[in-house]
Symmetry: C3
Subunit: 372 residues, 3 copies
């Protein structure tokens, strides 16, 4: 991963080729919607601000992700892996913090649920379907995928306990839910730290194969340029996330969506759009290991890093975010984890399995749409 | 599947052999119980009508299945497959429609649950046990079996959402449950149609091996004879199903059974008796792929075709059947899917695994027996 | 298993080696804590009696287990296997009976839950972690492990039905819960008996490999000495268990623990300490098959033998113990079974998988700690 020989500058192929160019599309989106989103907030605030901010966040999140990857690559596998693991979902974390500070704790939790479901069902399903339309059968490393399943199972355990506790104890549970959530968050962060030790140190060879494909997708930026891009994109995300959060209530009023639907489906899709396109591209190149890795790694970071960090950060913010998710969210995570696991079990995928994951996502979408 | 060379006329072997002959047994049952059931309805209506109709439906359902298979075979793999997929569970569908028209919505839903549990636990368990008593270890194609599991997982998702929704929202959910069920039914039917495209078109080679065994079981009927048998048997099923449904209340009063028990255990066993015997015969011939295929395909047809069709057909009938199943039914489907998946995971079966499935079925039977 | 040639007297190696000696440690514990526990009960009863009895039970349970194994070995594979299967968890059974007679039905059920969770998560997790720190990758027989999963799934079914039934029916269920539990218990015992037939008779060759490792761990006692040790240790367990149960209320008052926590975590750890150390030793010797076998066999014995026997024995005791576990316990068993199954699926283990199991155990520990 860190030997210079394995780095293939991909930009020429990636940017000047005749075919579909994802990076250029994202830059165009940014150039159009970022100024519009800013202008909308000041001159015509309301539901349009929400929509414009949502669209502008997609390329911003992508830029942050790319800059992080370039810097991580230059730092080498140890430090770089650590950086990737911490900043990989920085955009989600910033949006969630903005929502948390404005007291939208429910939307924050819904966006955590939505990001996990989006990765395990929508991203993975679309990638398997797209790849399956091109290749009749695609193989991947079952052991790596099942390891991701096991970690998600741990996350599911963590997210189901407070909900059950509340429904068993009723209002008497309120006092206990926050300390319980803090204790569970600490356990999750410890397991997350150990999982980094595993993938970056003791068992880094297992992940070596995966890195071969990544350089192709990485822009040829100098460290300085990447750092500037990272700073600029982060600043942009921070600003636009604030504006988006301010417009949440207008959007809910205008579209008739529920808070949960906004969090689970809309905000989560914004945060995952970049992973989405990358996973599909990998599947079309028959690199299913990478597609699975994107879906499971991103879910893992949300569940074992972003969620517990938000719980701990909520203490100084005075918001006391708990890990209590709704019944529907817990069932959703259980279903998402189960479906992705079932697909991963035989180490092969075909387009019908992609349809199946998307079908599960659609049914959950119906459910979250109707929930008030 | 459609090349004439592969067709082995099985009737001589199947009918004149010294051993156990399933077809003759079913014809005998029909000759005795069909007239008795009719007579009972008119001359001594009541609990005996229920019992006689129940027994008469078993060979009728079997005849319908056989005639469908013969016609499907002559139509070739494409159209024939479509026919098999649509009429494969026609008997269940007719019984359910009769019950639905008489306002027994609960019994209809219970019979859907029961048919799925019957296939995944009773049919598969009995087949694995029977095969396992003859062979110490039987192998099957794990990938095909797991693909069935994945589809059943989708069905489980569809069946669990309305129940959860109701228990979360209380009476306020009533208004929403029917539109939600319609939306979910449409998703299920789309996935079902795509799964037919998969098995009949894009990946039909995967199922080619399975067809080798089927001709042996198929009667040597001309298309004309098969069509007449199909029409006659369908008419018979329609009549007897009506009589059976009329006698449901008498049976419940006489035996002390609950509505759920009648649907889940009794009606479901009637509808599955034919699959049951075929799956066991396949297992005894060490064709475990076929036994698994019968169990999973039949469950899939019930969950992804019969159930959503009943929901949509309930609109013109003015009955508004929802996909809301009881907690116990949802748990039952979850347990059945999980148990069959666990058994399928290693691609091998032995008699203890059959006992395990039957044990799970027995425990669920106890539960449904006690539920009022 | 029963041929004398395969018996390797291990005592010299096991006891006189320079390294860590488990047997000597346990004997030392016994010599110190058994007299203290007895004295405490009579001279300074209260919370210290609880602690001392708890510690004294660990080596007593171990001695019972070792003596049982020696006698079983001399009896040969048939009768010996039967003896191992019936007395393997005799210590747990005795402690549970003592608690049941004193009317601590909740603690009994909690200790059943705790013993299963302890085996599937703590024992297996610690073994995988310990083995994984020594070997980067350890392989085991996936089929055998999954067979254990399937049996635990049956147990999960049995334990979840009465809880669901109660929450659906409310107080009206009370009348039905005991007969339902008896019916389910009978089914579990039948499956248990058949599973013995499977492992000792029809498929004993599958377990032959496992036996190779056991002689190394077995003390070189004559049948007479083993019988005397078994009688003495059993007597000791009976006495100390009575004293422990008498002190439960004092311990709950002193430590502020809940009844559930005492049962799930403390009593269960006492009963499993011996399995715990053996499984870790096996993992350190790279015999992961044995480590998995210890965890799954012990869980199976608790769920399919100890629990139903306690239900049936409660009839003459007039206590009417049901199989109704709390929501939290049912969720715990479901999570434990799911986690162990996910780890077993690929036939390989590494230290991170051990961490994952221990993380799930820790989260459940947090949950049971907070439940009043």
């Amino acid at each position: 991963m860190s030997t210079p020989a394995s780095v293939t500058p991909s930009s020429p192929e990636g940017e000047s080729q005749g075919g579909f160019n994802v990076d250029r599309l994202f830059l165009g989106l940014l150039a159009v919607f970022f100024p519009l989103a800013i202008a909308s907030h000041f001159f015509f605030p309301g539901v349009w601000t929400f929509v414009l901010c949502a669209v502008a966040l997609v390329p911003l999140a992508r830029l942050m992700g790319e800059a992080t990857e370039v810097i991580a690559h230059k730092l080498g596998s140890g430090l770089g892996g650590l950086m990737n693991a911490s900043f990989g979902n920085a955009a989600e974390l910033i949006i969630a913090l903005a929502a948390l500070r404005s007291g939208h704790g429910d939307v924050v939790k819904a966006s955590i649920t939505g990001a996990i479901l989006g990765n395990l069902l929508l991203v993975l399903g679309a990638a398997i379907l797209a790849g399956g339309l091109k290749y009749p059968k695609q193989k991947f490393n079952m052991t790596a995928a099942l390891s991701g399943s096991a970690i998600m199972f741990l996350a599911l355990t963590a997210m189901s306990i407070p909900d059950l506790f509340h429904s068993v104890r009723g209002p008497a549970a309120d006092r206990v839910l926050f300390p319980m959530s803090v204790a569970i968050s600490v356990i999750l962060l410890i397991v997350y730290a150990l999982s980094l030790l595993f993938s970056l140190r003791t068992h880094s060879h297992l992940y070596a194969g995966e890195a071969d494909g990544e350089p192709e997708e990485m822009p040829v930026w100098s460290t300085k340029k990447a750092t500037l891009v990272l700073l600029g994109a982060t600043l942009g995300v921070v600003v636009v996330a604030e504006f988006l959060v301010h417009a949440i209530e207008d959007a809910i009023a205008a579209f008739g969506f529920t808070h949960t639907f906004v969090g689970v489906i809309i905000i989560a899709i914004i945060g995952n759009a970049a992973e989405h396109s990358t996973a599909i591209l990998m599947a079309l190149k028959n690199k299913m290991d990478l597609a699975f890795n994107i879906a499971f790694e991103s879910s893992k970071q949300i569940a074992l890093f972003v969620a517990p960090v938000l719980v701990l950060v909520s203490i100084p913010l005075g918001q006391h975010l708990t890990l209590e998710f709704s019944h529907m969210e817990v069932l959703g995570i259980a279903i998402g984890t189960g479906a992705a696991t079932l697909i991963a079990l035989d180490g092969e995928s075909n387009w019908l399995e992609g349809v199946m994951l998307l079908g599960v996502y659609a049914i959950l979408g119906v459910a979250f749409f109707f929930i008030p």
